[in-house]
Symmetry: C2
Subunit: 341 residues, 2 copies
DNA sequence: CTGAAAGCGCTTACAG
DNA sequence: CTGAAAGCGCTTACAG
């Protein structure tokens, strides 16, 4: 395992000084074309590659961005993280990513590690709890940092927050179900008291109130398993309920499975709308209506926001709401022609 | 935005030399307890945190591991990447991760970027195509690098390969379907000619041959959409087929949806087995039998293998097959009692 | 247009 | 047990 070649090896090979090599590396116009080509040839020849850690020591912009996610196995967050990472990569940054699995201790640990690695900025979809352990070190490091999708840290001047407009999404979905003829609409899933649940629910409450209908809320974990149980519970305990707005698509997809299991025909006997519009919604059967949050676009937007902040000092506003829209599919529209067995 | 504190600031504050601070940072036993506490207090006081880039410059082990994945949105790879990342994190390493979206150019670019960032090792689930552009630079960097899940680079001494035992999985699943009474079993999904497809299929072929049955292969993309179409095509063109072994769970879940759509009762009229056993299998309805590859365990194992290689020079064998097992659920066993509507 | 020199924040022998 | 000094691979004024 031989030594990694350095700028000095290149300089020696090309017969110039290491300063010149450095200038070539940075595409400086002040080096003569022939010299540049000479250096380039030497670089290719000895297989030199840039050492960013060393450069960073002088320049202090490592080109590393930290990405900390509370639940990376959830397709919603996967999609977000992936599109964000690819957007960063396209602008020449690498992403250090970590999943915290909703554990604030893990979160504090990985954030600390990322700061040690000298990330130039941090994007965090935080776990709930022990906020200071995570956020105080970031304040000390004085790097751009955004919280996304969940707002757990009140200092939004320091940690600007961005999120799709969940309230509007909840309203749109509820109004759609009402227009489609639903008489009694339940809100299913989402942990009680969490901001995200509250927001998604508040659009639902507002729309029902306006229509003079009574809400029915079944909070619970945001999982397929909970959705599946909820389908059964709703049928048993609240047979009058003929529609559900779900906290997210996983719950909705779980309800789809649950309805199939108990023989309730979704789109006919019962209408379901999910939230997030993950890829699977269009592939499910019946296909699932959902509040489209354009999470891929959201990821790209966050990447751009953070890099503009980092590179040009454009501080984002303390709070950004991105637009959402409702995508109506079979689960709330009624079945397509080939739907009977 | 003030300067990040350094070891020298700490030294000044604690009234010792920077060497002493460095020793404290490394928990060296050769520094007196009182001095250590003094230094620790100073560290906490001025909010110092370690600069790994600088340390790395001297030591050349950045504690960064590169993770390059061909399709990070696929839950199978998400699960792998996440468990790997968390295992690395637990051993004090950070993961730089990148999705290539099956694009070999993107892959070459991100691998180059990671090498510049001085990753100490690389784990890659490669895209197909342009192998030299990705792998030659890794060879020059002379760092431990493994290919996982797909074997595209023949130099397996340089890039040891690890993968679950797909052949065995295909065999197990096929034998199970035969035992369950299936008369004609199709293999559905997976791109023709790819090693993964070939392996998963070869267990299927072997088992059928042994039983004296004819194979029927329907290759295609490994997506829900393809699975859904395939369900219809199979019913239309090959009504005698009464079971399917799918290339992966996405295809199988797509078939589940497709069967629901055309009114074919899975578990009764038709049996389906998937491959990978992603989390959703247990939550689907009917629940999906699948070849369990323990991908979370696989991720942890790879993390351990790479770190042992990096830290202790334990070179992995050129090829590792990890065990798989079949998990039988409703989709191939017959419905549970509550299954009629 | 190119070279010599200092410095980024650490670690590591080497003295004391 | 602790300090002074060199060096890791770069960049950046500053001379020439």
């Amino acid at each position: 395992m031989k030594r990694r070649p350095t700028i000095i090896d290149v300089a020696r090979k090309a017969g110039v000084s290491k300063s010149t090599v450095s200038l070539v590396l940075q595409n400086s116009p002040q080096v003569r074309a022939e010299t540049r080509d000479l250096v380039r040839a030497a670089i290719a020849d000895i297989g030199y590659f840039y050492n960013r850690a060393a450069a960073n020591l002088r320049m202090s912009n490592a080109g590393l961005i930290g990405l900390v996610i509370n639940d990376l196995r959830n397709p919603f967050f996967t999609e977000f993280a992936t599109s964000l990472q690819m957007a960063l990569s396209a602008r020449g940054y690498a992403a250090v990513v970590a999943n915290t699995d909703e554990d604030p201790d893990v979160q504090a640990q990985v954030v600390g590690a990322m700061l040690e690695h000298g990330v130039s900025a941090l994007i965090i979809s935080p776990a709930y709890g022990k906020e200071p352990a995570t956020f105080d070190p970031i304040v000390r490091a004085a790097i751009p940092a955004m919280q996304v999708l969940r707002n757990v840290e009140p200092r939004m001047d320091l940690f600007p927050f961005a999120v799709p407009d969940y309230v509007e999404g909840g309203r749109l979905a509820t109004e759609h179900l009402l227009e489609a003829g639903a008489r009694r609409i339940a809100f299913v899933g989402g942990l009680q008291g969490r901001a995200v649940t509250r927001e998604r629910m508040s659009g639902y409450h507002a729309a029902l109130k306006k229509a003079g209908r009574e809400p029915l809320v079944l909070t619970g974990r945001a999982t397929r398993a909970f959705g599946r149980q909820a389908a059964r519970r709703l049928a048993d305990d609240h047979p009058e309920v003929d529609a559900a707005l779900c906290f997210n698509d996983l719950v909705a997809l779980g309800m789809l499975a649950g309805c199939a299991e108990i023989g309730r025909e979704v789109g006919k006997d019962f209408r379901i709308v999910g939230f997030d519009d993950i890829e699977e919604c269009a592939q499910a059967w019946p296909s699932l209506s959902s509040v489209h949050c354009d999470i891929a676009g959201f990821g790209e937007r966050i990447a751009a926001t953070v890099l503009d902040w980092l590179e040009d000092g454009v501080t984002p506003p303390p709070q950004t709401l991105t637009p959402v829209e409702l995508v109506v599919r079979e689960s709330s529209r009624g079945r397509s022609a080939n739907a009977f067995s």
